[in-house]
């Protein structure tokens, strides 16, 4: 049922390369992947992922009239998601500075209890990466973009993405070392 969006958003705006695109259909076909990307970029925070993906679709709607079909529509949407996640990250950092909160501590191997425990450890490890490292790691290793595509999505040079990727893997290896040792012992 795509009535919710169609009722207020005018489909006529979504004319891409001469073809009318129904925003509701566009939303339905891209929301799952866009939300997964947002979720991964905000460190597994469900509410933040929802907020980021909603703002990204709203911005996509407002910007669709100016969309030049040079990039794929999905890549363009993902670029907006990356920017929104970055804004969320900045807001969170400012909030932490104002109220003096600390980032979550690494989970110890003693907390390991099946998949939920593993998920928590991995979320914590990815969450502790810097924004640049997380963007590079998520886009290249988890979402399957090439380094060049990831660089274009983040508005960075390929060299910068490679550096972030290298450091991200290094940090993840260190953070998840107990996990890998546990696997080897088992």
């Amino acid at each position: 049922m795509a009535v919710g969006v169609k009722s207020q958003i005018e489909p006529s705006v979504l004319v891409l390369a001469g073809e009318a695109v129904d925003f509701a259909r566009f939303f339905e076909s891209h929301v799952a992947r866009a939300r997964r990307l947002a979720w991964r970029l905000v460190g597994g925070d469900e509410a933040a992922a929802d907020d980021v993906v909603q703002e990204a679709f709203a911005k996509a709607y407002r910007g669709l009239a100016g969309f030049r079909a040079e990039a794929r529509l999905e890549t363009w949407l993902h670029r907006i998601v990356v920017n929104e996640a970055a804004s969320h990250h900045r807001r969170q950092r400012l909030w932490r500075l104002l109220i003096g909160g600390a980032p979550p501590e690494p989970t110890t191997p003693g907390d390991l209890q099946g998949d939920p425990g593993l998920r928590r450890i991995i979320s914590g490890a990815v969450g502790r990466l810097s924004r640049g490292q997380r963007e590079a790691f998520v886009l290249v290793h988890l979402e399957g973009y090439t380094v060049r595509e990831a660089a274009a999505l983040c508005d960075k040079s390929e060299g910068s993405v490679k550096r972030h990727l290298h450091r991200a893997l290094q940090r993840l290896r260190e953070d998840l070392a107990p996990l890998r040792e546990g696997e080897r012992d088992a």
């Binding site: 799952a32 997964r36 709607y61 290793h141 290896r173």
Partner: protein
């Protein structure tokens, strides 16, 4: 050769993945998008915004150029206070000058003749 990080990356990819949004969750997300992306600005909102801008601009202009009080000084002609004093009976200074003695004697002589 197998990348030593590949196993770790695969595990992260498997476990660092959210549940896909169900129908209810999708509907809620759609409603959120709808609320954030209205189709066009409402005319009354635009008119109100323009009105507020005009009022603020006028207020700013008035604040910059307040109506000035006339400056009062007792320096003399050209001054409102001086004119008021002359016209409406403020005490006048005696500005008569005494004549020299020779002129006074001459004037007396002329009167006698």
């Amino acid at each position: 050769m197998r990348d030593p990080d590949q196993g770790m990356v695969e595990q992260i990819r498997r476990l660092y993945t959210p549940e896909p949004p169900g129908p209810g969750h999708r509907a809620a997300l759609r409603a959120g998008v709808e609320a954030r992306a209205p189709s066009r600005p409402r005319p009354w909102l635009v008119a109100a915004a323009i009105g507020v801008v005009i009022v603020l601009a006028l207020a700013a202009l008035l604040m910059q150029h307040p109506v000035a009080e006339p400056e009062v000084s007792r320096a003399g002609p050209g001054n409102n206070r001086w004119v008021e004093d002359v016209l409406f009976g403020a005490e006048q200074e005696d500005i008569s000058v005494p004549l020299p003695a020779e002129y006074a004697a001459l004037s007396e002589l002329l009167e006698r003749q």
